[in-house]
Symmetry: C2
Subunit: 347 residues, 2 copies
């Protein structure tokens, strides 16, 4: 795995992005932003599952006006997602948001950009230049999609820097994984600013999580990426959980327990799927980063999962509880779940 690319650190609310800080997990509310109660409820859910930054759509003045009450009730820093109308950005900044996301594809008037940048600078609020493959500016029209995405971001960076603004973060999202990877790789060489990774419109929970894991995973493995958002057509909570799963796989973050479980095969003599699901449900109530293995085979189990803090290798009628590969106890099938969970508590 490559050493992480060193980017310039910026602060969004109290959260540091880049400069070697842990990769930050973010999501977005899917409620009507004008509905303060529903939006705050969703922000609380996101805070509870470990979301570190929350973005909100600001489609109109009423939504911008709602941001002030929402901001008062949120612990997590909030980012306003602005398209088309720079006045919504000004209103969001006045309402106290911690970050702005602008799409260079749909606000291009330099005067409007200057107005937003001046207001953001006076408040030390960072701006994400959020380029999307599907909404690129018409120029430049040459080059691959990835090259055009990078060109659009670089042009916007130049503009912001010419306005003496450096609190910049960049994203370059596409649905297509190779395009997305190419764009971020190019950008990583051309800029010092932190990068926000994501695959856009990735789809429903299952396929979307896989697509995001492939794209974001490739980049993180190359040391690229300071914050991530997994975009899913699903509850925002799922985006956060998927985000942490990706980071955990690459040892970039710890986040609660990890379940190692074997796929089972013709050797398995117990209902391992059921047991694994029960263990998962119990582990969801635990915060410590313990690694727990549920294995369907007494012969291979403890050895194969020697890396786990605690585990069970299940045979017909009885199983072996082990710690770091060493069997500590044999238990009856009826006690599999409770014995394992008691051992987990003791870690």
């Amino acid at each position: 795995m490559k050493k992480r690319r060193m980017s310039r650190a910026i602060g969004v609310g109290g959260v540091t992005i880049g400069g070697g800080a842990p990769v930050v997990v973010q999501s977005m509310t899917k409620t009507d932003t004008r509905d303060v109660a529903a939006t705050v409820r969703q922000i609380k859910e996101l805070e509870e599952c470990g979301c570190e930054l929350v973005r909100l759509a600001v489609p109109d003045a009423e939504a911008a006006a709602a941001l002030r009450s929402i901001k008062h009730r949120a612990r997590v820093p909030l980012i306003a997602d602005i398209h088309f109308d720079y006045r919504l950005a000004l209103a969001a900044l006045e309402a106290g948001v911690d970050g702005l996301r602008l799409n260079p594809g749909n606000i291009s008037d330099p005067k409007q950009i200057a107005a937003m940048v001046n207001s953001a600078r006076s408040r030390s609020v960072p701006i994400r230049i959020g380029v999307n493959a599907g909404s690129l500016p018409k120029k430049p029209a040459r080059g691959s999609v990835a090259q055009r995405m990078v060109a659009a971001a670089l042009e916007q960076i130049d503009l912001l820097e010419s306005l003496d603004f450096g609190l910049i973060k960049i994203s370059l999202k596409a649905f297509d994984v190779p395009t997305t990877v190419e764009a971020y790789r190019l950008m990583a060489r051309k800029t010092v600013y932190p990068l926000h990774l994501g695959i856009t419109e990735a789809g429903l929970l299952r396929e979307g999580a896989i697509r995001s894991a492939v794209g974001i995973g490739i980049l993180l493995y190359e040391g690229i990426g300071d914050t991530i958002r997994v975009s899913l057509t699903a509850e925002p909570r799922e985006e956060v959980l998927a985000g942490y799963e990706i980071l955990k796989c690459l040892d970039l973050r710890e986040h609660g327990p990890t379940l190692v479980s074997c796929p089972t095969c013709g050797r398995c003599e117990v209902d391992l799927f059921g047991l694994a699901r029960e263990v998962e449900a119990r582990l969801a109530m635990i915060e410590k980063p313990v690694k727990v293995a549920v294995m369907g085979c007494v012969v291979n189990g403890p050895g194969e999962a020697r890396d786990a803090d605690v585990g069970i290798a299940c045979g017909k009628g009885k199983g072996a509880i082990f710690r770091r590969g060493e069997v500590v106890r044999t238990v009856k099938e009826a006690d599999f779940l409770e014995s394992l969970m008691r051992e987990v508590e003791g870690v």
Copy 2:
């Protein structure tokens, strides 16, 4: 994306692995192999969802004996998974299996290996050297886990080559993604044989698919990998679907329709989650590789999803059906699903 590593092609049944052939998707039955009816039923399910190779556990002589009837009723090539007892490999070969998987960690007697290799050679049946991080041979004890995995595989390759056997495939699986990636990268430089990719004991459907997507995705993006198996504590069908999703993300295989769908945000005014799930269910009945977009925003939708063959951008009460980014029709909310599906049929 890197050019694919050129490996030596081998044939497993009628399926070519390596040598530039499309990446092959495989899975494993989870039934008791001795239960012929249940095992054949699961093999049929796997054939139906596009599984190209099926592995079966052979824990005892009765399971080995069952292979003959199973083989007669399967269209897909079958691979016998052998541990500890070389006589089970001999019996499986006699029963007509198309491939063997051996774990160098648990059959080490050179005479036993020679017996298996001689029988496989006489039948032109390939052998996978399936190294697992959790069941490494005791020697060599030096080096990182990845280095030790590669050393174990190389030693076994030497042994097989000294027996004039070259129908070899290699796997080097671990739960830990960086370890797995390091092992395959090392191996890719040291051998010409095709590589079978997988992350072992990856967990339940959701986390396991993400972990597999990160690990397998990184390697495929580097051009490494000739066949894959996603190991999930879930029905084998899920392993196949996840496998194809990973390959589709990197344009390595086509496999049925692809759903592009936006995550929604405060701009969305319809039940997009519901619509996307309904579209997904309908697409599951279609085989052609059409790309369909379900977007929650009329303003951005057609542009953002211009890459899709067909799509819908949904607003309150009405939506726009588009083809390759061009709006072709406006439809009422009640007609969203049916209008979109009619358009999909016309692609």
